[in-house]
């Protein structure tokens, strides 16, 4: 077996162990832990990139390494690295838990990496749980006056119930197809979907994944967790874990493709409700992270648009959008955690005067927000338009119409952020940025612009990748 096939996972396993040993040390070494974690995360990203074009199946065909999974692994590695970048100032985590903090981030990443490569239902489930549990722990790890644990407990129970549903669904699929391997399930799908149990099994299975992506009606945790969790943790949840969820949904939803009209219709409805609800409720939010949570619900709806096409272009758009979402959402969260120097929750109006406090951050914020809103020439615009295009190709006129109108609604609350950052007068002094942060800002801004204007490479990559799962 080629070790490189399992390279990123092995690396992150090793990284987890290193961090585990850090956590065992009696002396609290904040700086050293951070640099170790950051260095490892960077190395992990390199490894993931290095393994990008690996191809093969390992673990008795339970684990498929292809371009599709490797792209997402690279994205996850990138996500982890980026979150590490902004974790220099972990104001809301006890210093002695920093090692654990990084450890759980790593295990979560590891779990998600396995998630995107798994082609066996049980592996998917366990990998999902691994990533979820790490996050369940990370959320209440925050120093706080109760919001953190409240969020943690809600997150946990909603997740537990969802995964209970998922297990039930997996059971039904297992019962109907006698296998847990996707490769064996797919040939039986037509007969399976002829019986209702297959559809319901698939639906229940997707429930667990929709929970991850915070699609309506499994979105209830998102606002609470976003608000209650530490900024860095939420950043990770909002970026990397979304990408992983998209990947696995793309893999699984394929099962229901082409056979189930009503299945697709159900997804359409969920998509529409997700974006409408997310966008409408986001309008009235005051807390920045909470607003972003609702925006993430809306974005989950957008991604579903790509999923329900069940076509190469749609899937490619969804992949593109997931990657885009990672970058743009991270940009916004980066600004958020830079502005919230004490790690506190940020009200939108607390962004006041950002333009004078730090023009660079403002630029990033504007670009990130506009990308989220789907304003060109950003990666978000291109992604959204590609999604709509592929959906329209499949004849989802109303879906596209509603999606586009939703885009307008969403602009309202995004502009409120711009309003606060640009218009309100500053109440605090200028923000000092370290040079890595500055570099990060420039990199992200250029990424948002460059991939928005020149999407071809990424789109081609995504198309090649999704051919692997179709």
């Amino acid at each position: 077996m080629n070790v490189l096939l399992f390279g990123p996972e092995l690396f992150y396993l090793g990284m987890a162990l290193v961090l585990f040993f850090f956590s065992l040390q009696r002396r609290v070494q904040v700086e050293r832990t951070y640099w170790a974690a950051l260095g490892l995360a960077a190395a992990g990203f390199v490894v993931a990139l290095y393994c990008l074009f690996q191809n093969g199946e390992i673990f008795f065909r339970a684990y498929k390494v292809d371009l599709f999974s490797q792209i997402f692994k690279a994205a996850l590695a990138l996500g982890l690295f980026l979150v590490m970048m902004i974790s220099r100032n972990l104001a809301h985590i006890e210093p002695r838990y920093h090692a654990e903090f990084f450890f759980f981030l790593t295990t979560c990443t590891l779990g998600m990496m396995m998630l995107v490569s798994s082609v066996e239902l049980l592996t998917i489930y366990v990998a999902l749980e691994l990533s979820s549990y790490s996050l369940y722990i990370l959320v209440p790890l925050r120093k706080g006056d109760g919001l953190d644990v409240e969020a943690g407990i809600k997150y946990l129970f909603i997740g537990a119930v969802s995964s209970g549903f998922m297990l039930f669904g997996l059971g039904y699929i297992f019962g109907a197809t006698h296998s847990t391997y996707l490769s064996e399930i797919i040939p039986r799908m037509p007969e399976l979907l002829a019986s209702p149990i297959g559809l319901v099994g698939l639906l229940l299975t997707l429930a667990g994944l929709f929970f991850k992506l915070s699609v309506f009606p499994f979105h209830f945790w998102a606002p609470d967790v976003y608000q209650g969790g530490a900024n860095q943790v939420v950043t990770f949840i909002a970026t990397a874990s979304k990408a992983a969820a998209v990947a696995v949904i793309l893999r699984l939803a394929m099962l229901g493709a082409k056979y189930g009209y009503s299945f697709t219709q159900a997804l359409v409805v969920l998509s529409i409700v997700s974006m409408t609800l997310g966008n409408l409720v986001a309008i009235i939010q005051k807390d920045f992270k909470r607003m972003l949570a609702y925006s993430s619900i809306a974005h989950a709806g957008y991604v579903l648009i790509g999923v329900i096409t069940f076509q190469e272009l749609g899937y490619a758009s969804a992949v593109y959008y997931a990657l885009a979402y990672l970058v743009m959402n991270f940009t916004v969260f980066m600004v958020l955690s830079e502005v919230a120097t004490d790690g506190q929750d940020l009200k939108i109006e607390e962004l006041a005067g950002l333009y004078s406090r730090s023009p660079l951050l403002t630029m990033s914020l504007i670009l990130g927000i506009f990308a989220l809103a789907g304003v060109p020439p950003s990666i978000g615009f291109t992604g959204k338009l590609l999604l709509f295009t592929s959906a329209m190709n499949e004849g989802y006129f109303w879906l596209v119409l509603i999606g586009a109108v939703n885009g307008t609604v969403s602009l309202y609350y995004y502009l409120k952020v711009v309003y606060a950052a640009y218009f309100l007068e500053p109440r605090q002094g200028p923000l000092q940025l370290s040079w890595p942060t500055k570099a990060l800002n420039w990199t992200l801004c250029s990424a948002i612009l460059v991939f928005g204007v020149f999407p071809d490479g990424l789109v081609e990559l995504a198309r090649t990748a999704v051919r692997m799962v179709l």
């Binding site: 759980f104 049980l122 790490s134 369940y136 943690g152 209702p196």
Partner: protein, 177 residues
């Protein structure tokens, strides 16, 4: 008469035993969710778990049944008991139950239940064309270390995460306060 003779025949005994196990399971489950005393809930859970273990016996797998008792009853329930003791004192007055909420829960859970029951009724299950009859633990172990080895490893990591997490979270506040 027929019934009686049937009852003492092996299938009859097994059926009676089965019904008993089912009743225990469901009773235990009911206690687990309905009793007002949290300890009674745990005991109900234990009962239900043992019942499920019994069902596993009926399903030809004594090993899993044993593990069920070992892990669930032996570990999980004990852990729950510890948690109960660490948390809210028992003597605190309990707020009255809201019938509205109960009704909602019944309706919600009932809908899903009814839906799934209907579904199960509608479905015709087809067994696999070729079925192996190898129920040995050895084979299971073999599977565990071949086809499911990845999960096996991941589970160990999962448990590590859970342990470390439990320690961090449960200990966290004390240090802080």
């Amino acid at each position: 008469m027929n019934l009686l003779s049937w009852l003492i025949s092996p299938p009859g005994v097994a059926t009676v035993a089965f019904i008993l196990v089912v009743v225990v399971t469901i009773l235990g489950a009911l206690i687990a969710v309905s009793a007002r005393n949290i300890f009674h809930n745990v005991l109900g859970l234990v009962l239900a778990l043992i019942g499920v273990a019994g069902l596993f016996l009926f399903l030809n797998s004594p090993f899993v049944a044993m593990m069920q008792i070992l892990i669930y009853v032996g570990a999980v329930c004990i852990a729950i008991c510890f948690a109960i003791m660490l948390s809210e004192p028992m003597y605190l007055p309990k707020p009255p139950r809201s019938s509205f909420k109960t009704l909602g829960a019944v309706i919600g859970a009932g809908t899903v239940f009814a839906f799934l029951v209907l579904l199960t009724k509608k479905t015709t299950w087809t067994p696999a064309p070729e079925r192996s009859t190898d129920w040995s633990v050895t084979t299971m172990g073999h599977y565990l270390l071949t086809e499911y080895v990845l999960i096996f490893e991941v589970i160990s990591l999962l448990l590590l995460v859970a342990m470390l997490g439990a320690i961090v979270i449960a200990r966290g506040g004390r240090g802080a306060s």
